[in-house]
């Protein structure tokens, strides 16, 4: 009697028809996100390209600096850079080149923009990646420690010092770090990017730390609040009631469930990281993309400016699209769409 009632009360199990439908939904969601990514990059390329017309100053004057403004020379330069074409055609020529990796020619270096950028890229990439690793390790560690010690004096001390760190601009952090580690202790170099890979990493330690400081604080605080929120969840107590060890409870039931918000915030931080890297590069005299961008803006070298801005925007949107795509992997409830919660 009980048996038959139970069977009747149980809805049908996951049928064969359900799995493909779910897979199709997941694929559709992913395709939508990638489509949105491409659209965003396209729109930003339009804005980046046409914003040149909003900037005061004429690149031709820069090109001809020091020479007599003779009309023939102006005409020649205009023709070389295609400045006499209608704007839409100029955009078309530019964007088709960009897709093939050709960003045009730099006005100040008289070189292909791609070459100029590739020469500067390793330093910036090394700086951002190293800072990213520091942010991930130190930020997560601080946040996890604070959440484990929640409510204690140590927790309040960590939170307070993170609030302080978040308020320090990166150039101030850079100066302090140089004063302590380079001048006083002499542990790390304070200038230049060194020769060779290992030496470059060594030269990048202080700049990366200066860049990472305020972001460590932000990630630390997000980690702490996401973890504290999870600690209060009933399933965590259930896990404890089932004899799971404290370490496993923290890793599998708290940290695991807190990754969603941590990743989302981290993705948004990337924009700030790329912008701040320009400041840090100036402070430490690093020949990276940031300092290139600053000098190019100064000299109205618009092909370089456009290329760097487009690369930064694309990197930012790409990372956040990736975070979005990771969502369903982290939280299976997202797979079934919004209605399933």
């Amino acid at each position: 009697m009980a048996q038959s009632n139970l069977a009747a009360a149980t809805p049908p199990a996951p049928g064969a028809a359900k799995a493909p439908r779910q897979a199709a939904t997941a694929l559709k969601l992913a395709a939508g996100k990638i489509g949105a990514f491409l659209f965003t990059v396209f729109v930003s390329s339009v804005i980046v390209f046409f914003s040149r017309w909003l900037v005061p100053g004429d690149p031709i004057n820069f090109l001809l600096r020091g020479r007599s403004p003779n009309p023939e020379a102006i005409a020649e330069v205009t023709a070389i850079y295609g400045l006499d074409r209608p704007p839409l055609e100029q955009y078309w020529n530019w964007i088709t080149g960009v897709v093939q990796g050709d960003f045009g020619r730099s006005l100040q270096y008289r070189q292909d923009v791609t070459e100029v950028i590739l020469g500067r890229l390793p330093v910036t990439l090394g700086l951002v990646v190293m800072a990213g690793v520091m942010i991930a390790i130190l930020g997560l560690a601080a946040g996890i420690a604070a959440s484990l010690l929640r409510g204690t004096f140590a927790d309040r001390a960590i939170v307070a010092s993170m609030s302080g760190l978040a308020a320090i601009p990166s150039f101030v952090g850079a100066i302090v770090l140089i004063a302590i580690f380079a001048v006083q202790l002499g542990l790390f170099p304070s200038f230049g990017s060194g020769n060779g890979f290992a030496d470059m990493l060594y030269h990048l330690v202080l700049p990366s730390l200066a860049l990472a400081l305020s972001f460590i604080a932000v990630v630390g605080r997000v980690t702490r609040s996401a973890m504290v929120e999870q600690f209060a969840r009933e399933h965590v107590e259930v896990a404890r009631s089932r004899g799971i060890t404290p370490v496993a409870v923290v890793i599998r039931h708290v940290l695991r469930n807190a990754t969603g918000p941590i990743l989302t915030v981290s993705g948004l931080l990337v924009a700030g990281l790329l912008v701040s890297s320009a400041i840090v590069e100036q402070a430490f005299g690093l020949a990276g993309l940031g300092s290139l961008l600053v000098s190019s803006v100064d000299r109205l070298d618009f092909p370089v400016v456009q290329a760097i801005v487009l690369i930064v925007v694309t990197a930012f949107v790409a990372i956040n699209t990736l975070v979005d795509l990771l969502g369903p992997v982290i939280d299976p409830r997202l797979k079934a769409g919004e209605g399933a919660r």
């Binding site: 069977a7 996951p14 259930v238 009631s241 004899g243 060890t245 039931h253 409830r333 209605g339």
Partner: protein, 557 residues
Amino acid sequence: MKILDIKELSIRVAAAAAPPLQLLEKVSMHIERGETVALVGESGSGKSLTARAVLGLLPSAAQVTGDIDLGGLAVLKASGAQLRAMRRGRAAMVFQDPRSSINPVRTLGAHLIEPMMQVPGANKAMLEARAVELLASMGLSNPEARMKQYPHELSGGMLQRVMIAGALMNDPELLICDESTTALDVTTQAAVIRLLSRAVSERSMGMLFITHDLALAASIADRTYVLRHGVLQEHGVTRQVFERPVSEYTQQLVAATPGMRSAPRSGSQPSGSAGAPVLSVENVSKTYQLRGQPPVRALKSVSLAIPAGGGLAIVGESGSGKSTLGRIVAGLEHADSGEITLAGGAITGGSARERRLKTASRVQMVFQDPYQSLDSRLTPAKALAAVLKLHYRLDAKAMRARIGQLLESVGLEERHANLYPRKLSGGQRQRVAIAKAMALNPRLLVLDEATSALDVSVQAQVLELVNKLRKDSGVAVLFISHDLAIVGEICDELLVVQDGAIVESGPTRAVLGNPQHPYTQTLLASVPRPRWETDPGAGTDPDPRHGDLEPARNNRS
């Protein structure tokens, strides 16, 4: 043989700048092998705390004295590792809400085998095989596939079966159920209760069944302990506790429990007058369309009418569309098709704001959870003033008088008028919510599970209040509930809804006394009843250690 022996357990927590809070005082209880013991009490009685103490899950701030012996392990003196080993093997707990007690981002299989995987030398394949077997014995179809599913893919009832399977993974000697069926629909609750009693008798475990629902305790427990404010009031064989309660408190509880008290109070119930209906609903349908999912037909051509001053109950399980109907009647949602007519003619013309105010003055709604439905920053006086200001022009004196009168009509005193909701009890909060609803003298009151979140004694008082308001002001009541046991107390007419359609309707007593539709019959059969009524052999044995309980229980299942 005693599996659990609690001796003079006292728990208190130190509060800053206040005398320490005594949460549990000298509670002694024991559980034998194969025995089901109920621990009943209202919220704040300390029953969940007792369960957590048994598993050694108390926060470190708690000062604990006494002794807990769990099959030879002195829980209060045990080390962390000993406690974890005990929780993995000897004692397991099933919590109230399966949806929140299982990690939403891990598969059910991972959940089931997790504790046993912590034991050195665990064999994953063997554990998984065992988990599959247990899922099957819990009546879940396709257990292998379930192992790879996530919690959100299962219904609450199915998830609770998974939780029970998880608790049984290592053959515990003691199973603790803390309100484990409270969040489930009544038919699901009945099925889960059957599973639990079968598991107890098959494994000769002990079960500590914690509940606020006396009828449920009476339906499952051999012995019962009654707890109030951390002090045991009474204990003994379940039937004796409920039929001949010794303590005054237990007598009150029994008297307040619908279905357990001997004489239903429906005699005092006012009945509706004939004449034009205060509400008529004709062929109302509503369909929800969620993105990427098949449409949900919440209401399928539903019709009903309530006479002025009448009372109509709508009963159904979760997802039956009963709340949608209430919200449509109250103007919070719009029907896709059909007619809703409130007494006083159609509301047309005027601005949207005027139409809204007119609707609000005719029909008002009271929600389930007064902790959420009241603004925590508004005192009752301010909340009522806000409502009154919207609709009437009253000078300060008249306003004060009206507020005082409203509070009095719902049984609150003047001193409550200026207290913030957090200082009010659940019952008092619900009274404030009802006062707010009555402030405009509506013709119709929609009560959506308005007593479900309240303790049983408070529930009885609020039901009495609603009946009194009906008599005094002639307001009609639409009472939406999942609880068949209480609808008889308040409403003369009853509608049973299933999957958005009315399956049965009629006078409450007739429907409950002689249900026609199979669904109504199933619902009624699922209402927990004392064991001694369904099974005359059980519960009479004064000493549950005698073995003849188990055959008796097998007969039942």
